[in-house]
């Protein structure tokens, strides 16, 4: 079951539609990391609303995606973790330390927009010749 990846502006949105096997999760990781480069993406959103279970392999793969995307210059947000899934994750001892999460897609996009603004303000200006 391949996860569709949509491109919206500078962001990639991977919207998980159904339960995923370990191979599906690994495939999603490869596809996202390749596309960060191909589309010069600045942000990645992984929407896990449809996932009814997150076990250690799923959490590890999401962490890998976030870290690999960051190494390629894109920020990742995991959105849509369901309340009972969060409960089971905590019981299992699984965390997403250092990785941005948001309630839903809308909040995830807002987070990336805020990150992007910070980035543009901090960037040194090029291509403009100031008069001395």
């Amino acid at each position: 079951m391949e996860v569709p990846i949509l491109k919206q502006g500078h962001y990639l949105i991977a919207s998980i539609q159904s339960a995923l096997s370990d191979a599906d999760l690994s495939q999603l990781r490869e596809a996202l990391i390749a596309r960060v480069g191909k589309f010069r993406a600045r942000g990645v959103i992984v929407d896990v609303t449809a996932l009814d279970v997150m076990d250690s392999f799923a959490v590890r793969t999401l962490r890998d995606i976030a870290h690999m995307a960051r190494l390629r210059g894109a920020e990742t947000v995991i959105v849509g973790i369901q309340p009972e899934v969060a409960f089971a994750m905590v019981q299992l001892g699984l965390t997403l330390k250092g990785i941005a999460t948001a309630l839903d897609l809308e909040e995830g996009l807002a987070f990336l927009d805020r990150q992007g603004q910070g980035r543009i303000e901090n960037r040194p200006r090029h291509g403009r010749i100031d008069r001395a």
Binding site: S21, D52, V53, S56, F57, E84, F87, A88, L92
Partner: protein, 141 residues
């Protein structure tokens, strides 16, 4: 344990990663039939996912069996994961957080144990592994 009634047994063969998904979905459906809350269904499915993946990782193949039970008038689910794989050399270490011989997170077994009410591991090197987990429906949940 005063388990009185055994009603059903279901088996899931574990030989591929899609079987792990099948096993946790079967467990969730049974848990729903028993009347577990959605939260407990998720907890049970997560525990099954961890022990089923362990079969795949260490033994390559095995099976997960599900039995609906009644202890007096308290319903519950028994999940048994069994394989003829290499076995576990040190069961108490395998139940510690962060201990892994596979390069994983080392949270599978100890995590599954925290999720379930009862958890037993029978294993020895070369003798395979049998994990028995039980979850009881709470009176008000």
């Amino acid at each position: 344990m005063g388990v009185s009634t055994v009603r059903d047994e279901l088996r899931c063969l574990i030989a591929a990663d899609t079987d792990v998904v099948q096993a946790r979905q079967t467990g969730r459906e049974l848990a729903a039939e028993i009347g577990f809350s959605v939260g407990d269904q998720t907890v049970i499915a997560a525990a099954i996912s961890e022990i089923a993946r362990n079969i795949l990782m260490y033994a390559k193949r095995g099976e997960v069996r599900f039995t609906k039970v009644l202890d007096g008038n308290r319903p519950g689910l028994i999940v048994v994961a069994e394989d003829d794989g290499p076995g576990i050399r040190d069961v108490s270490r395998a139940l510690q957080d962060g201990y892994s011989t596979s390069g994983g997170l080392g949270l599978g077994l100890p995590g599954a144990r925290r999720l379930m009410d009862e958890f037993e591991v029978v294993s020895a090197p070369g003798q395979g592994t049998r994990i028995t987990m039980r979850k009881w429906k709470r009176a008000n949940a």
